[in-house]
């Protein structure tokens, strides 16, 4: 049995540590979520990628227990319930949260995007949000969903999982998050992943990711692009690229965060 203990705060880039390592032998997995109090697109996409690897790819049972916090359970359940693998089960002492409307912070729950056509459908789901809530930031995020998916499908074709994405409204930061994770192995074991990643991005000035943030800046949208692969991190913010080294994470994550106020 493989235990996977969630931390209380599964938000932000730090939550990418919950991305699964490739090459782990198949094993049943038990997800302990008792202490979970907060989760956003980062944590949800990383956790869902683990579930996709263990439950769908490896066809092993993955059992999840509920957080003690009912609101956190409702949020986690809603983030994971769509198109989940058959091997994902609730623990014996866990019941689904009472039926209610999906938490409004969830724009798109965690979902696989195995094709561009699926990415288009996801973008249209966002664009179908009622006009009173369809902000400029959300329209920008909808525009970039297929670009991020295309990037994953192009560069992570040997990922054992299909790209997983989540779109979430972070009330604390008043921003929309689009986080997409795959398990491509390009930067695994690269001791200079931060430099390699930055060089790769800058080598394609007309690439989908670069033009996305440049266009955002030109439109006055204060978007931040974060790329995380291995120990490498690359950030685009306010017209500048920067890179850093951080805790090694599996696969490749591309995330756009866009302030609603724009």
């Amino acid at each position: 049995m493989r235990p996977l203990s969630l931390v209380a705060d599964m938000r932000g880039e730090a939550a990418l540590s919950f991305l699964p390592e490739r090459g782990q032998p198949p094993a049943e997995t038990l997800i302990f979520a008792d202490g979970l109090t907060a989760i956003d697109a980062w944590g949800a996409a990383a956790l869902r990628t683990s579930i996709e690897l263990y439950a769908r790819r490896q066809q092993q049972q993955v059992t999840i227990g509920a957080p003690k916090d009912p609101a956190a359970w409702r949020l986690l359940y809603s983030l994971l319930e769509k198109d989940c693998p058959a091997h994902l089960r609730l623990s014996d002492d866990t019941t689904p949260p009472p039926p209610s409307r999906r938490p409004s912070a969830i724009v798109v729950p965690t979902i696989r995007a195995p094709t561009l056509e699926r990415a288009d459908e996801i973008a249209e789901v966002i664009l179908d949000i009622p006009p009173s809530r369809l902000t400029r930031a959300l329209r920008f995020v909808a525009q970039e969903v297929p670009e991020l998916v295309a990037n994953a499908l192009t560069h992570a074709d040997r990922s054992p999982t299909q790209p997983v994405l989540c779109v979430f409204y972070d009330r604390d930061e008043d921003e929309v998050q689009l986080v997409l994770c795959d398990l491509g192995a390009t930067y695994d074991g690269d001791a200079e992943a931060a430099e390699s990643l930055l060089a790769a991005v800058q080598a394609h000035p007309s690439g989908g990711l670069t033009t996305a943030v440049e266009a955002a800046a030109a439109r006055g949208i204060d978007a931040t692009l974060t790329l995380a692969a291995g120990s490498g991190r690359v950030y685009w913010r306010r017209g500048k690229w920067s890179n850093a080294s951080a805790q090694a994470v599996s696969g490749f994550t591309a995330a756009l965060t866009v302030p609603i106020a724009d």
């Binding site: 006009p131 329209r139 969903v145 033009t211 996305a212 439109r219």
Partner: protein, 217 residues
């Protein structure tokens, strides 16, 4: 397959090519969400294939919700290529019915390419990313409808050479076309025609998609 329509427009007052039938290409046939360079390339290839004849071209973005820069770069490159291909005569290429999001992204793409293009804004035709003197020249050209370079120079109170230079730049935007003036007594003289509100009417449609317009409240 992209929907294409060709129809006659009112050319009253224009002396050039009275049978101009603009080719109307609807980008929405590639989806409400236009994205990725390969798909933009496919759309651009299709555009080139249907725009083989040198007729005015309307690229209609009605019902396109959002479009990413790589997709639009391919479309802009294709449209600009068509303008350059017919550079001796020019070819009116009009971008129409872009909602606010698409227009903003288009502005970025055009600026990055250091180009300018003609687009329909309400019931008038304007230039995206153009210097003010070119916009002024286009406005005057639209008033004249069919004209020679000296006529434009006189109207703008500028030198003939300056008018010719400005017209050369406008030809490259797709906002102006020209053809040899059959009444010229000696040498080569051209008659010019600018994209006019007639063509904007042909472009029709709403100014912006319903969802986008509604979101702007």
């Amino acid at each position: 397959m992209t929907q294409v329509a060709a129809f006659a427009t009112d050319t009253k007052g224009a002396m050039l090519s009275a049978d101009h039938r603009p080719l109307h290409v609807y980008l929405r046939d590639h989806g409400h969400v236009l994205s990725t360079r390969p798909r933009g390339r496919n759309a651009a290839d299709h555009l080139r294939s249907v725009a083989d004849e040198p007729a005015d071209l309307i690229l209609d973005f009605e019902d396109v919700e959002v479009a990413s820069p790589p997709f639009l770069q391919e479309i802009v490159d294709a449209a600009h290529g068509l303008v350059l291909r017919d550079k001796d005569t020019g070819r009116i290429v009009l971008f129409a019915n872009m909602n606010e999001d698409v227009a903003e992204t288009m502005r970025y793409v055009v600026a990055k390419r250091k180009l300018s293009l003609a687009y329909r804004e309400g019931n008038r035709i304007d230039l995206l990313e153009a210097k003010p003197h070119l916009v002024q020249t286009l406005r005057t050209a639209q008033q004249l409808r069919s004209f020679t370079a000296p006529q434009l120079a006189e109207k703008l109170d500028i030198e003939n050479d300056t008018a010719t230079q400005r017209l050369k730049k406008l030809l490259e935007t797709g906002a102006v076309v020209r053809e040899p003036d059959p009444e010229a007594k000696q040498g080569i003289r051209h008659l010019y025609r600018a994209a006019t509100p007639d063509l904007a009417e042909a472009a029709g449609g709403r100014t912006g998609s319903g969802r986008a317009a509604a979101s702007r409240g």
